[in-house]
C-alpha cells in the first residue's frame, strides 16, 4: 500500500464520521421529529471516502437519495447537514431540501438527488463545464445499481465518451433497489461491462475495501484530469442498512442481510489499520468521541434553530428577478 498514512487515517476518520452520523440520524429520525425520508449510507462508507480522498473543493460530485455519505466525504459540515435534516433555516439548503436534497455548492457538492439517476446528467454537465472552462477539475457521479436502469446513464456516457469529459461514473452496487434485487433487474453480473459499449473503461472493485476503491478512483481521476476522458467504476457493496429508516426488509432473506453485515467496510478497515500499527483502540476512541461530540452539538443546535418563515415559501424559485 503506497497510500500515505495521513490519507489512510483521514479516510478512516471520514468513514467513521459517516457511520456515526448515520447511526445518530437513524436514532433521531425514529424519535419522530425529523421530517421526510431518510436513507442511510451504512455499508457504503468506503466508496465515498475512497473516492473523495482524491478530490478538492473545486472538483464536483453529484449524489443520490442516499447522499449523507457523499456529502460528509466531500466536506459538508455536520451542523449544516443536521439543520437541513431538521428543516431549519440554518440548514445547508435553508430547510427547503432535507435529507434527499443536501447540497453545498461552495465545496463542489452538487446535491443529493431524489430522482434515481438524477446525479448522472448533473455530474456529466459539471464535467462539461470544466472542459469548457479549461480547468483540470473532475466530476463524479454516484448512483446505485437501480440508477443504472435509467437511460440517461447511457446517453451521458456516450456524450462523455465522444467529448472526453472528465467525469467518473461510480455505480454503488449494493445488490438492491428498494425490494428489488439486482439479480432480478439485470442479466449481467457486472454493470461496468456496459461502459465498454461506449468506449469507456470499466472497473469492478470490492466496495467494502477502501484500498481497492481508492486505487481505482486514483487511476480514473488521474485519467480524467489528464484529459483522457471518463471512466466507470462499479463498487460492489454490502447493503447493511435497510432501504430507508423504517423499512422492515421483510422482502429480504435473512442470509443476505447476515452476509452483508459480514462485509462491514469500517470494521474491515479498522482492523487493517490496527494490524498495520496505524491505529489502536485509544485512537479510534478519540476519533469517535470527537465526532460524537460534534453530533451532540449539531443535534442540539439544529433542534433549537429557527424554522424558515412561512412567507418564505416562494423564496429561491427564481433568481432575484421574476418579472420585469
Amino acid at each position: 500500500m503506497n497510500v500515505p498514512d495521513r490519507t489512510l487515517l483521514e479516510m478512516f476518520e471520514t468513514m467513521t464520521r459517516i457511520r456515526l452520523f448515520e447511526e445518530r440520524v437513524t436514532l433521531e429520525y425514529q424519535r419522530g421529529d425529523m421530517p421526510g425520508f431518510v436513507h442511510t449510507y451504512i455499508g457504503a462508507e468506503a466508496v465515498a471516502a475512497g473516492i473523495c480522498a482524491h478530490l478538492s473543493d473545486d472538483d464536483l460530485i453529484a449524489s443520490t437519495h442516499r447522499g449523507h455519505g457523499h456529502s460528509l466525504a466531500k466536506g459538508c459540515s455536520i451542523a449544516g447537514m443536521l439543520a437541513e435534516l431538521y428543516g431549519r433555516e440554518t440548514g445547508l439548503c435553508k430547510g427547503r431540501g432535507g435529507s434527499m436534497h443536501i447540497a453545498d455548492f461552495e465545496i463542489g457538492m452538487l446535491g443529493a438527488n431524489a430522482i434515481v439517476g438524477g446525479s448522472i446528467g448533473l455530474a456529466t454537465g459539471g464535467a462539461f463545464a470544466q472542459q469548457v472552462k479549461g480547468t483540470s477539475n473532475v466530476s463524479v457521479s454516484f448512483f446505485g445499481d437501480g440508477g443504472a436502469g435509467q437511460g440517461i446513464l447511457y446517453e451521458s456516457m456516450n456524450l462523455a465518451s465522444i467529448w472526453k469529459l472528465p467525469v467518473i461514473y461510480v455505480c454503488e452496487n449494493n445488490g438492491w433497489a428498494e425490494s428489488t434485487p439486482a439479480s432480478y433487474s439485470q442479466s449481467v453480473e457486472d454493470l461496468s461491462r456496459r461502459a465498454d459499449g461506449f468506449g469507456i473503461p470499466g472497473h469492478v472493485v470490492d466496495g467494502a475495501d477502501v484500498f481497492a476503491v481508492h486505487k481505482a478512483a486514483g487511476e480514473a481521476i488521474g485519467r480524467a484530469r489528464r484529459g483522457d476522458g471518463p471512466s466507470f467504476i462499479e463498487a460492489k457493496i454490502p447493503r447493511i442498512s435497510a432501504h430507508y429508516v423504517g423499512d422492515t426488509q421483510k422482502y429480504r432473506d435473512e442470509d443476505d442481510l447476515a452476509a452483508a453485515k459480514q462485509r462491514d467496510p469500517l470494521e474491515r478497515f479498522g482492523s487493517e489499520l490496527t494490524a498495520a500499527g496505524l491505529l489502536d483502540e485509544a485512537a479510534v476512541e478519540a476519533i469517535r468521541s470527537a465526532i460524537v461530540e460534534e453530533l451532540d452539538r449539531g443535534v442540539a443546535a439544529a433542534k433549537a434553530d429557527p424554522w424558515p418563515a412561512a412567507d418564505g415559501v416562494t423564496d429561491y424559485v427564481y433568481s432575484g428577478a421574476y418579472g420585469a
Binding site: P35, M100, A114, Q150, S179, T180, P308, D311
Partner: protein, 331 residues
C-alpha cells in the same frame, strides 16, 4: 382508499386475462424466488397479493426505467393487452413524458383510429409527507393539457375503486392520481366490481350559496370546510370533478348558475393549471350567473419545500378556502 385501489386491480385481473400489473417493487420480494410473505406489494402496498394470485407472468417487478416501462406499456396496449403500471409517484412520470405525450396520447390519432392504447398509469401525488421537491408534485394539470390522455383524480375509496375499474376497461390511456393523504381514508365499498364512469363529477354536498370545486384531496378538505360553513349558515355546494379529462363541465356549470359564486381549490401551482382551466370555463359559460369573480385557492408558483412550516404554507388549507368563500360572498 389504498385497499379499494388494490381491490379494483384484483377484480380487473380476475375478469380479464389481458390485464397485467407491473412497476418498481409492485411485487417486492419476487426476485428472491418463492412468493414471500413479506412482499411489499408496491411502495404503498396497493398491489399486495396480486403476485400470489396471478403469478409472475401477469405481475412483475421492474428495473428503474420509467421511460422504458411506459414505452413497453404503450406497445403492449397497442398489441392487445391492458397494462396497469405503477409509477410510484407522479414526480417520476416526467421521465416517461415522451412516451405519454408522443406515443400513448397520439397513436390512435396519428394512425387514423387503428391503434387502441388501453393502459393505466397509477401514481401517488401530493405534499404533506415531507417528501420534498422531487416527490410531491401533483402534475395532473400537465396531463389534462394533452389530447389523447384521460385524467382521473379519485377522492373517496368508493370512487377510487369504481374509477380504476372504469379506467382499466377504458380503451384510452388513463393517468390515475392517488393522493397519498387519502390512502388512509376509510369507507364501505361494494364488494362486487362496479364502475364509476369517466367524465362524471359528483356533488358531494348540495348547497345554494357558493360552489366549491376541489380536486383530489382538496375535494375532501372542501367538504370539511363546507361543514364548518354550514354552522355559520352558509350553504356551500361541493363538487368533486373526479376526472379532469374528460371533464364534466355541466355539473359544475349547473351548480354555479344556481349559486352564482365559485371557489376552486387545488394543490398545484396556479399557472396553466386545472384551477385556471375551471375558472376560465366557468367565467365564460356562466358569465351572467356569476355574482363575484371566481376565486382560486392553489399552491404557490413554487416547488414543494421540505420544512414543515413551509410545506404547510404550500398546501391550501381550510383557512384559505374559508377566506376565499368569504371574498366571493361579500361582494
Amino acid at each position: 382508499m389504498l385497499q379499494a385501489v388494490g381491490e379494483a386491480m384484483y377484480q380487473a385481473m380476475e375478469a380479464d386475462e389481458t390485464v397485467v400489473v407491473y412497476g418498481e417493487d409492485v411485487v417486492g420480494g419476487a426476485g428472491l424466488g418463492e412468493p414471500y410473505e413479506g412482499a411489499m406489494g408496491g411502495t404503498f402496498g396497493a398491489t399486495r397479493g396480486l403476485f400470489h394470485r396471478f403469478g409472475r407472468t401477469r405481475v412483475r417487478d421492474t428495473p428503474i426505467s420509467e421511460a422504458g416501462l411506459v414505452g413497453v406499456a404503450v406497445g403492449a396496449a397497442a398489441s392487445g393487452i391492458r397494462p396497469v403500471v405503477d409509477m410510484m409517484w407522479s414526480s417520476f412520470t416526467p421521465l416517461a413524458f415522451d412516451q405519454i405525450h408522443n406515443q400513448a396520447a397520439k397513436l390512435r390519432y396519428m394512425f387514423g383510429g387503428q391503434a387502441s392504447v388501453p393502459l393505466v398509469l397509477r401514481m401517488a401525488i401530493g405534499a404533506g409527507l415531507g417528501a420534498a421537491g422531487q416527490h410531491s408534485d401533483t402534475l395532473y394539470s400537465l396531463y389534462t393539457h394533452l389530447p389523447g390522455i384521460k385524467v382521473v383524480v379519485p377522492t373517496t375509496p368508493h370512487d377510487a375503486k369504481g374509477l380504476l375499474l372504469a379506467a382499466i376497461a377504458d380503451d384510452d390511456p388513463v393517468l390515475f392520481f392517488e393522493h397519498m393523504r387519502l390512502y388512509n381514508t376509510r369507507q364501505e365499498v361494494p364488494e362486487e366490481p362496479y364502475t364509476v364512469p369517466l367524465g362524471s363529477a359528483s356533488v358531494t354536498r348540495p348547497g345554494t350559496d357558493v360552489t366549491i370545486v376541489g380536486v383530489s384531496y382538496m375535494a375532501k378538505l372542501a367538504l370539511e370546510v363546507a361543514g364548518a360553513l354550514a354552522s355559520d349558515g352558509i350553504e356551500a355546494e361541493v363538487i368533486d370533478p373526479r376526472t379532469l379529462s374528460p371533464l364534466d363541465s355541466e355539473t359544475i356549470l349547473t351548480s354555479v348558475r344556481k349559486t352564482g359564486r365559485l371557489v376552486v381549490v387545488d394543490e398545484s401551482p396556479p399557472r396553466c393549471s386545472i384551477a385556471a382551466d375551471l375558472a376560465a370555463m366557468v367565467s365564460e359559460h356562466a358569465f351572467d350567473a356569476l355574482a363575484a369573480p371566481v376565486r382560486r385557492v392553489t399552491s404557490p408558483h413554487s416547488p414543494v419545500p421540505l420544512s414543515p412550516p413551509l410545506e404547510n404554507a404550500y398546501i391550501p388549507d381550510a383557512e384559505r378556502i374559508r377566506a376565499a368563500v368569504d371574498t366571493v360572498l361579500n361582494r
